[in-house]
């Protein structure tokens, strides 16, 4: 028994030593490469792969959604799109035209808000200040697709997909939040059987469905 313990210990020590070396080695090399940055020997950099922590390993049922994202200015879709009934494309005018729906320029906000009293409305004061200083407002992204995804708002809007189908009932949201997982399987559910495919393509709907399942439709 004692010997068994010894064997186990010896193995554990070996493994530990190996791991320590393996752990130190990259950092030692990183220093070396930093040094050689000047002379340029290695055209590579060292990212530790974030995919190590890919949640896709787990079968995703009910993907946890993002928390409501706080914004630098507490903008409410509920008021603009809900109460006031503004059209989505009034502000997100690029949604019909390009890949990105885009966030409106401050000038678009000021188109109305220049006329609106800011007394006791601290959020509007922030907007006004940003406008006066010409500062860019850094909105936080609620919906963020990976860089390897090609997504065209135009194609979807033109095809007749309602904004709410992906973004949820935005007109009721005080603080914007993401309601869809935006994961590949979620996209595919519509690409396989969205009613707009039949409406738009009629007899060619089958071909279009096949095209929509082509990986290169969305991956770039």
């Amino acid at each position: 028994m004692r010997q068994l313990t010894r064997v186990t210990l010896a193995f554990a020590l070996t493994l530990g030593a190996g791991l320590a070396v393996a752990g130190i080695a990259p950092s030692a090399n990183a220093e070396a490469s930093h040094e050689s940055e000047e002379t340029f020997t290695l055209g590579m950099k060292n990212p530790l792969p974030p995919e190590l922590f890919d949640s896709n390993l787990v079968v995703t049922v009910g993907e946890p959604l993002a928390e409501p994202v706080a914004q630098p200015i507490q903008f409410t879709h509920e008021r603009h799109a809900g109460t006031l009934g503004m059209d989505c494309t009034y502000c997100h005018s690029n949604a019909r035209k390009g890949l990105h729906a885009g966030v409106p320029a401050t000038s678009v906000c000021m188109g109305c808000h220049a006329l609106i009293d800011t007394t006791d409305r601290p959020e509007l004061v922030k907007l006004k200040e940003a406008w006066d200083k010409g500062e860019v407002i850094a909105w936080n992204k609620t919906h963020d697709l990976p860089d390897y995804v090609y997504f065209s708002h135009k194609r979807h809007v033109v095809a007749g997909v309602a904004c709410q189908e992906c973004h949820g009932e935005v007109q009721t949201m005080g603080v914007n939040e993401r309601v869809a997982s935006l994961k590949m399987g979620w996209c595919l559910d519509c690409h396989a059987q969205h009613p707009s495919i039949d409406d738009n393509y009629g007899t060619k709907a089958e071909l279009r469905r096949a095209e929509l399942k082509d990986c290169w439709t969305c991956h770039k």
């Binding site: 493994l15 190996g18 791991l19 320590a20 393996a22 752990g23 990259p26 002379t39 340029f40 290695l42 055209g43 590579m44 950099k45 060292n46 990212p47 530790l48 190590l52 922590f53 690029n94 035209k97 390009g98 890949l99 990105h100 885009g102 966030v103 409106p104 320029a105 401050t106 000038s107 940003a130 010409g134 500062e135 860019v136 407002i137 850094a138 909105w139 936080n140 992204k141 963020d144 860089d147 390897y148 090609y150 065209s152 135009k154 194609r155 033109v158 095809a159 738009n200 393509y201 009629g202 007899t203 060619k204 071909l207 096949a210 095209e211 082509d214 990986c215 290169w216 991956h219 770039k220």
Partner: protein
């Protein structure tokens, strides 16, 4: 099953995982990303949509047009300007120009030695120094590369104010210009029209790559070699000791001894005159030419010379001048001799045209440079402005430039990054790139390009024009010269000086001067200017001037090298004279002949190498009177025995990527000049010895020849011409094993049908007959597809990331060199070997006939790459660097790839996707309410596809054509079904989407009657319309559709 497998896997992966967990203890969290909207939306800017600006290329003096693609504020791509009458495409070096604009070495602003200055301080410093120099009676000198257009005119104003001005390039046009002066008394360069020539003789002119006006000549050359134009294929003959990229396409190679080229050219002129019965003004000169002596000196057979003369005399022809490797001590004589050949052949006025005013601005010879440097060394130069020339690097070994620069009171260097000439006291003024500032350039009197800014400057720079304008304003000239007008009816009524005085910025001046010089009198300025900006080019055709031979005597020709002496010749590779040495992609682009990179090497004949006892990794030590270099070697059958061809460009001391790469070939040169003062770069005496060691050179092309395999195929010229109109299905001599009759009897050799391509089957054709391996497609591909450079160490392991491999095969021998190039890219096979083997479905066949590659699904088993017979796949062995500020020019239309994934040519799927998107928009726009859209009426038409991919758009000779094979009227189908077309490794029945068109050779064995063995075409072609299963309606007529690309925006990008 899954549970168990996963458990097994976890056991298996335990070590890797534990090691990982130990190696990286960091908390991974998806960072919050931001959306940054504009404060005020600029007009015409839509996030994610590209704007196009027509501007000018400043890569060399040829002044080609560029269409720069600006995406989200940065220029991310360049293409040739199709409106440019001479150069519709951009060469490889034109692409380097954009990479150089994003160089990480660019200085942040004006720099004095190591201290940053403000522009005001810098201006004051220059003004003070100029004033001090004036006061001390010292010269203010400008030494730079060729400059044309408004800058040239402004500098002319400064000359009147006392500026000493020298424009020189080491592999420039000074000898040819001097020869034109001698021969015809004109101060302009001849324009060579190769398009109609039946015989092209070259004495080393790099007319397809680095020569002045190369893009126009490349196009002409491709036309001359295209049998469809005139049912004749130009015969090309080369007289030079080393075949370069341009002359590698010669059908006949006469390796004249270095130094004897001028005598050969004179002898050829005499023989041509005899053959042609020439009696013109130069006839009297020819009597003194010793043909036999010239042939003996060159080591050539006189009878063969006569034969060449016979070919020349038999039809339209052109004799091209020398290039760097032949321009030795008799450079001007050689140029005169080639002009004399053209004179006696009656080519002048036809294929050799004067009267266009072709000249890259002011041209000085090396003698002027030496005089200036000598004066500087003597302390006679107060202010020296160095523009674009790295003089310390370029000067011959015996010219002490660094000392001379030290003797100047102030050296102003107009450059974006420090180079070898930047001393501790040099005032470095960043002049930005042509993509950031206004510029213009003039190719010929009737052709000018407008260089409008395509993005806001990356660094605090001031355009070259603005700098010179500032000089002019602070030094008004006493007697302003009138502006020279190109348009006959635009009378010059203003002077550059007066325009300059009125202009606030150089942009204003360019506009004013263009209005004065080029605007037709009746045009409205505002409208005309918008048009010019949109086109980026002003072009008007001028009449051909008739010129008369004037030289009364022939120039003296030296004796050349003594027998047994080894000769050194220099040639320009992708780095040209070294101006691209700090562009890593330029360093990485393999040389077409040796396929070497990132280094300096010498090309020697294998027999010479044997006599020196060179082993593969040995170095060659080359010694001349002025210097010594030790370089690796390449055994090229396309170099004369006893000649050492050394590539110029590398050996710089400064620059993140240039430093320490190779050796400086220029230091082997002496300040010896020919009669007109041109620097001798060929025919130099050299002593070569073997040095053992590790040279670190590596060839990317694995073998010298194609080992008898039908990879790059050549056909006989007669076969090609006879079978132009499909008399034979195929004339390509592919040898393959006949297929069992029982199989062919069944009608198909396929076990499985070709997959369905309902709408598109994207296809590409590559005309090997028009390919000279120039590399433009490779670099255009790299730029479009975000392929990184990997560095010399990685490239030595062959880990190039460029999606197009340029195979080079030496197939001929001796006088029949037959060098073949084959751009090998993903063949987008219909029966692709790569697809079936991917375990994770990362690569598959899509409905457009492409082998899709999904990078983020790839786990990197690399099985697909092993299984690709074309070796067309690239693997990311590391996550490659996109150092500051190259990352700004990444194309956002596709992803960059991380380590461990496979990538390959996608036929620019982002471009086809965008084109399809555009036509889908049209379909939706035309849609009748309540009815489905009609996509079959809105497929992307052939015109929009033909040049859609980056490689097709870049190819200077139009060798690459893209299109939809399903469209029976498409260009790509017409070319792909021509008798010369073949599929690479067709017997594997991979049904590629790429078809090659066989090279035409005048020496290839005749092959008429060969019909491709019957079976080859059936599987490889897959042409049968039924095979695509597409309903006929899908190929209906295309209605007038919008252009695939948005019109080139005229607007100047703001904000």
């Amino acid at each position: 099953m899954q549970g168990l497998n996963r458990r097994d896997f976890l056991k298996v992966g335990a070590v890797a995982t534990t090691a990982t967990a130990a190696a990286c203890t960091y908390d991974y969290k998806v960072p919050q990303e931001h959306v940054l909207p504009y404060v005020v939306n600029p007009e015409n800017v839509q996030p994610g949509l590209a704007s196009y600006y027509a501007t000018a290329c400043h890569g060399c003096a040829s002044a080609c047009g560029v269409v720069a693609r600006n995406k989200d504020g940065r220029v991310v791509g360049v293409e040739g300007n199709p409106d440019h009458p001479l150069a519709a495409s951009l060469c490889a070096r034109g692409h380097f120009d954009l990479y150089a604009a994003y160089s990480p070495d660019r200085v942040a602003g004006p720099t004095d030695g190591r201290t940053a200055l403000s522009w005001a301080d810098a201006d004051k410093k220059v003004a003070d120094a100029v004033a001090a120099a004036r006061a001390a009676g010292k010269a203010v000198a400008w030494l730079g590369a060729y400059r044309s257009g408004t800058v040239d005119a402004l500098l002319g104003e400064l000359v009147a104010g006392g500026l000493r001005r020298v424009h020189w390039e080491p592999m420039g046009v000074d000898a040819l210009l001097a020869a034109a002066r001698q021969a015809y008394g004109v101060d302009e360069l001849p324009v060579y029209e190769l398009g109609g020539a039946h015989t092209i003789v070259t004495f080393g002119h790099d007319f397809l790559n680095t020569a002045f006006g190369a893009m126009a000549m490349a196009r002409g050359w491709a036309q001359a070699k295209d049998p469809a134009r005139g049912e004749f294929v130009a015969r090309m003959v080369s007289f030079e000791a080393r075949l370069g990229s341009s002359s590698s396409q010669a059908d006949h190679w006469f390796a004249a001894a270095p130094g004897s080229e001028a005598r050969v050219a004179f002898a050829l002129a005499r023989l041509c005159a005899e053959a042609k019965g020439y009696t013109g003004p130069a006839a009297a000169l020819l009597g003194a030419v010793d043909v036999a002596g010239a042939a003996a000196a060159a080591g050539l057979d006189e009878a063969r010379l006569k034969q060449v003369a016979g070919w020349l005399a038999a039809g339209p022809s052109v004799v091209l001048p020398g290039g760097p490797s032949t321009e030795g001590a008799d450079a001007t004589a050689l140029a005169v001799a080639t002009l004399l050949c053209n004179e006696v052949l009656g080519n002048v006025g036809h294929s050799v045209v004067f009267g266009r005013g072709a000249r890259p601005g002011q041209v000085n010879s090396y003698a002027d440079v030496k005089a200036l440097v000598d004066d500087a060394a003597a302390g006679k130069v107060g202010v020296l402005i160095l523009d674009g020339l790295d003089l310390v690097h370029l000067a011959p070994g015996d010219l002490a430039v660094a000392d001379a620069l030290g003797k100047c009171d102030l050296v102003v260097q107009l450059a974006n990054e420090p180079n070898d000439s930047s001393g501790d006291k040099t005032l470095l003024l960043p002049v930005g790139s042509g993509f950031e500032h206004w510029s213009d350039a003039r190719v010929e009197a009737g052709v000018a390009v407008l260089g409008q800014p395509a993005m806001i400057p990356l660094k605090d720079s001031r355009g070259l024009g603005d700098f010179v304008l500032g000089l002019v304003k602070s030094n008004p000239a006493p007697a302003p010269a009138a502006v020279e007008g190109a348009v006959p009816d635009a009378a010059p009524v203003v002077t550059t000086a007066s325009l300059a005085a009125a202009a606030a910025t150089f942009g204003d001046l360019v506009k004013a001067r263009w209005a004065a010089v080029y605007k037709p009198a009746d045009a409205d300025l505002a409208t005309w200017w918008v048009e010019v900006q949109a086109k980026g080019v002003f072009a008007v055709s001028l009449p051909v001037a008739s010129v008369v031979w004037q030289a009364a005597t022939l120039p003296e020709v030296g004796a050349g090298l003594a027998a047994g002496e080894k000769a050194l010749v220099l040639f320009a590779g992708h780095l040209h004279d070294g101006r691209w040495a700090n562009v890593p992609w330029a360093q990485e682009l393999p040389d077409p002949i040796s396929t070497y990179f990132w280094n300096t090497w010498v090309e020697v004949n294998p027999k010479t190498a044997e006599s020196l006892g060179l082993a593969e990794k040995d170095l060659v030590k080359l010694t001349t009177d002025t210097g010594t270099v030790e370089v690796g070697w390449f055994g090229s059958p396309a170099v004369r025995e006893g000649t050492f061809a050394l590539v110029a460009g590398n050996g710089k001391q400064v620059g993140k990527y240039a430093k320490g790469r190779g050796a400086n070939a220029m230091k082997l040169l002496a300040s010896s000049t020919d009669a007109s003062g041109s620097l001798a770069t060929g025919g130099l005496k050299v002593v070569a010895t073997r040095v053992s060691g590790n040279s670190g050179v590596h060839a990317l092309c694995g073998n010298l020849d194609q080992d008898g395999r039908p990879i790059a195929v050549a056909v006989n010229v007669d076969d090609a011409v006879k079978n132009l109109h499909g008399e034979a299905a195929s004339i390509v001599p592919l040898h393959h094993i006949p297929i069992d009759e029982r199989v062919t009897a069944a009608g198909s050799v396929d076990m499985f049908p070709e997959p369905q391509h309902p709408t598109y089957r994207f296809a590409l054709t590559i005309d090997n007959n028009a390919c000279n391996g120039c590399g433009a497609c490779q670099i255009a591909c790299a730029m479009e597809n975000n392929t990184p450079f990997v560095g010399p160490d990685q490239l030595q392991k062959g880990r190039t990331m460029v999606w197009i491999r340029m195979d080079r095969f030496f197939e001929g021998e001796g006088e029949n060199p037959d060098i073949r190039y084959l751009p090998a890219l993903c063949q987008q096979c219909s029966h692709a070997p790569c697809e079936g083997v991917c375990p994770v479905l990362a690569t598959y066949h899509n409905l457009d006939g492409l082998n899709a590659m999904i990078y983020n699904r790839c786990v990197g088993t690399r099985y697909c790459a092993n299984n690709c017979p074309y070796a067309a796949r690239r693997f990311n062995y590391h996550t490659w660097q996109w150092p500051e500020s190259y990352h700004l020019m990444l194309n956002p239309d596709l992803s960059t790839r991380e380590m461990g994934v496979m990538e390959k040519c996608t036929f620019c799927v982002q471009r086809t996707r965008a084109a399809k998107d555009l036509y889908r928009d049209v379909a939706f726009g035309e849609r009748e309410p309540g009815r489905p859209v009609n996509m079959s009426q809105n497929t992307v038409p052939d015109e929009a596809l033909r040049k859609l991919t980056a490689c097709a758009a870049a190819c200077p000779t139009d060798a690459i054509t893209f299109g939809n094979w399903n469209d029976e009227k498409s260009t790509v189908r017409a070319i792909g079904e021509s008798p010369r077309a073949y599929t690479l490794l067709g017997e594997l029945n991979t049904k590629p989407g790429v078809r090659y068109v066989a090279r035409i050779n005048h020496n290839a064995p005749a092959n008429a009657g060969h019909h491709g063995g019957g079976h080859h075409e059936a599987p490889a072609g897959g042409h049968d319309a039924g095979g695509h299963g597409a309903p006929a309606g899908d190929h209906g007529t295309h209605p007038a559709a919008p252009a695939a690309e948005p019109a080139h925006g005229a607007e100047h990008k703001e904000g």
